[in-house]
């Protein structure tokens, strides 16, 4: 009540003052003392000059930040491109001082281990993401899961390898593709969870409500409405995770190790043996003092980067929505 009265009194007072001012013609120019030329956009004014200089500076810095991307791609094409041939994909890595050779087994190994990791991660990640998207806002479990997924996104990849070494390699008694796949799945999981969550959360609430209103159970709603609608976003997340896993080296160094041979033993596929991968091949061959191996490393890097970028771009094309990571 008092507030309203005060306001009234104030308004009345203002009016009075205003009328006095107007009558006495003492209204001051509100812009008196303002140097308008100071507001001009000109190179001779320090304020705007600073603005223009800083704009130029960050434009240059952004350009410089992009130089490495193009430099890397250019070097890959230049040093790896001329070595590229079909034989690379069908032959085994060469022994030291041997000429020729390729990395067919490494490509198969990479695909195999990424597939194992995807098989583990996808069901786990999507269902966990569904739970997060459906959970109420003050759900303690959900917020803890979300936080731990976010912490896992920054989890050092080498530690995933250390874990798989301790948990799988030491217990099964040898390096294997399974151990490599499990190490990779730890790195893929948070991406899949968080992207699934945001994709499911973006499904309009009215679709879910309509489904429940028609008498569908929660599981039916999820399978018939939420998942099909959110599928593009979920696929984007999976593809981004696959692209990341395909390029990871550190978790494979001492879980899958490396091998110069195909994955077969006695004519049968055996995934419990050391397995080659493109990334580890690049690492091993880059440090060798032989020209042939170094060239192979560049060619493998080109193949790996093309593979990763293509998966990445396909994944992005599934959904235009922004993926937060």
């Amino acid at each position: 009540m008092t507030d309203a009265k005060d306001k009234e009194a104030k308004a009345a007072g203002d009016e009075k003052r205003l009328s006095i001012r107007v009558s006495e013609e003492t209204v001051q120019d509100p812009f008196e003392g303002v140097d308008f030329s100071e507001l001009e956009l000109s190179l001779y004014r320090p304020r705007t000059l600073l603005s223009i200089l800083l704009s130029g500076l960050i434009s240059c810095m952004t350009l410089i930040a992009l130089v490495p991307l193009f430099a890397v791609l250019w070097m890959l094409l230049w040093r790896g491109g001329h070595k590229l041939s079909l034989a690379l994909f069908t032959t085994l890595p060469p022994a030291p001082l041997e000429q020729g050779g390729g990395f067919g087994n490494a490509i198969i190994g990479t695909i195999l281990m990424v597939s194992i990791a995807t098989l583990i991660t996808v069901p786990l990640g999507i269902l966990a993401g569904l739970f997060l998207a459906q959970a109420l806002k003050d759900n303690k479990l959900a917020s803890t899961v979300r936080l731990s997924a976010k912490v896992l996104t920054g989890f050092p990849s080498i530690l995933a390898g250390v874990f798989a070494y301790g948990a799988i390699v030491l217990t099964t008694g040898g390096y294997s593709a399974i151990a490599g796949g499990i190490a990779l799945s730890i790195l893929m999981l948070p991406t899949v969870i968080l992207t699934s969550e945001s994709a499911v959360a973006m499904v309009p609430a009215r679709m879910k409500e309509a489904s429940i209103g028609m008498g569908a159970t929660g599981a039916q709603t999820v399978w018939m409405v939420l998942l099909p609608t959110a599928m593009p976003g979920i696929l984007t997340g999976i593809m981004l995770a696959v692209a990341r896993a395909a390029g990871e080296t550190a978790p494979l160094l001492f879980t899958a190790l490396f091998s110069n041979y195909w994955l077969t033993s006695h004519g049968r596929l055996n995934i419990m043996q050391p397995t080659a991968s493109l990334a580890v091949l690049i690492y091993n061959f880059a440090g060798m003092p032989f020209k042939n191996q170094v060239e192979l490393a560049w060619a493998a890097a080109l193949v790996l980067v093309v593979l990763v970028l293509v998966i990445n771009l396909i994944g992005r094309s599934f959904s235009k929505q922004q993926i937060e990571l």
């Binding site: 304020r47 800083l54 930040a65 479990l141 080498i158 008498g215 692209a243 160094l253 190790l257 690492y283």
Partner: protein, 353 residues
């Protein structure tokens, strides 16, 4: 409006799809499926928490023998001698922090600059002005160009993060090191008295590792800072412009302070990435057990130590390496947790505005 005959026809049609009654309450099987499905979601979600616990536990248990043997002295001894079973990881801890902080310095400068460049839409503006010269800025095809160019630029910066780290390592080894070596050696010969330049760059060293590392963390900083800058309510910018502020007075005085929490969270997360980054460092940092300030000297980091020593580790060395892994795990978990919490609070504070 649907007439009674329409409804009857619709019913007949639906009935012809599904002979028999299709509308019925959920059967007990469906109810059970639903219940089991919900429980499964909860269990899988809880697996994520369990995973972190298992990771810590597994590494902790395997490190326990070494912890009992070397105690906390492991953290501040500077020798690594498998023959005499004498281990300490002070140089590795120092190397990890030193390279990460330097990379963070460069990465933050360029990353935040790129974030401002993206959030202000400089490139779109530039393209728009170019189009205006040809009077094409409202053309049905060319008029869309500014937005498209912005999207391409944003994806290009994100693609920087998509390149595998081992490829950056390869590039650093064969391109960056030969490129910067003459300059670094000139610096050493002229300013050798300065502690940062006290050795020459004979091959792998801290500086190339830092340069490559900063490229790798830049996209993280840019993406998160850009999101924070875009989330600043437009009315704040309008108010600043209305008061006569120039664009950069607005950016430095209003936008960056408002988005500072998000930017800071991004920097902390990038720091976590830098601490745990392995391959580029294992290839570029030189793996020398050395405690040094010099930018050109080889050194070592925790992650690189693990990557290089694990494949050939004997049964006696494994617990020691697990202990080193535990230290790395503790550092990165703390940094990442801190970063995630900062970002969460930043999001809340923006929502509240």
């Amino acid at each position: 409006m649907a007439s009674a005959s329409d409804i009857a026809r619709a019913r007949e049609e639906v009935a012809s799809w599904h002979p028999g009654q299709i509308w019925h309450p959920p059967s007990s099987l469906q109810k059970w499926t639903d219940r089991i499905f919900r429980q499964l979601c909860v269990v899988f979600a809880a697996t994520t928490i369990a995973l972190i616990a298992i990771l810590v536990l597994e590494i902790g248990v395997k490190a326990f023998p070494a912890f009992g043997q070397y105690g906390l002295g492991f953290l501040y001894r500077a020798t690594w001698d498998p023959n005499k079973a004498n281990y300490g990881i002070l140089p590795e801890i120092w190397g990890t922090l030193y390279t990460s902080l330097l990379a963070l310095l460069i990465g933050t400068l360029f990353g935040v600059a790129a974030a401002i460049f993206l959030s202000e839409g400089y490139l779109g503006e530039f393209v728009f002005r170019l189009l205006k010269i040809g009077n094409l800025h409202f053309h049905p095809f060319w008029g869309k160009l500014p937005t498209r160019v912005e999207t391409v630029l944003k994806s290009l910066i994100e693609l920087l993060a998509a390149v595998p780290s081992v490829v950056y390592g390869l590039w650093g080894l064969f391109v960056v090191i030969p490129l910067i070596r003459p300059f670094c050696n000139w610096l050493h010969s002229q300013f050798g008295w300065f502690p940062f330049f006290s050795t020459d760059l004979s091959g792998p060293g801290i500086l190339p590792a830092v340069l490559v590392l900063s490229i790798m963390i830049l996209p993280t900083i840019t993406a998160i800072s850009r999101d924070a800058l875009v989330a600043v309510p437009p009315k704040l910018r309008m108010a600043a412009y209305g008061l006569g502020a120039t664009r950069w007075e607005t950016i430095l005085g209003v936008l960056l302070p408002t988005a500072s929490r998000g930017v800071f969270g991004g920097i902390v997360l990038a720091f976590g990435r830098a601490l745990g980054e392995t391959m580029a460092l294992a290839m570029l940092v030189g793996n020398a057990n050395r405690l040094t300030l010099s930018l050109f000297s080889p050194a070592n980091t925790l992650a690189a130590l693990l990557a290089n020593s694990f494949p050939e580790a004997g049964a006696k060395e494994v617990p020691v390496l697990m202990y080193a892994a535990l230290v790395l795990l503790a550092i990165t978990l703390v940094v990442n947790l801190f970063g995630a919490l900062v970002l969460e609070r930043a999001a809340v504070s923006v929502e509240a505005k």
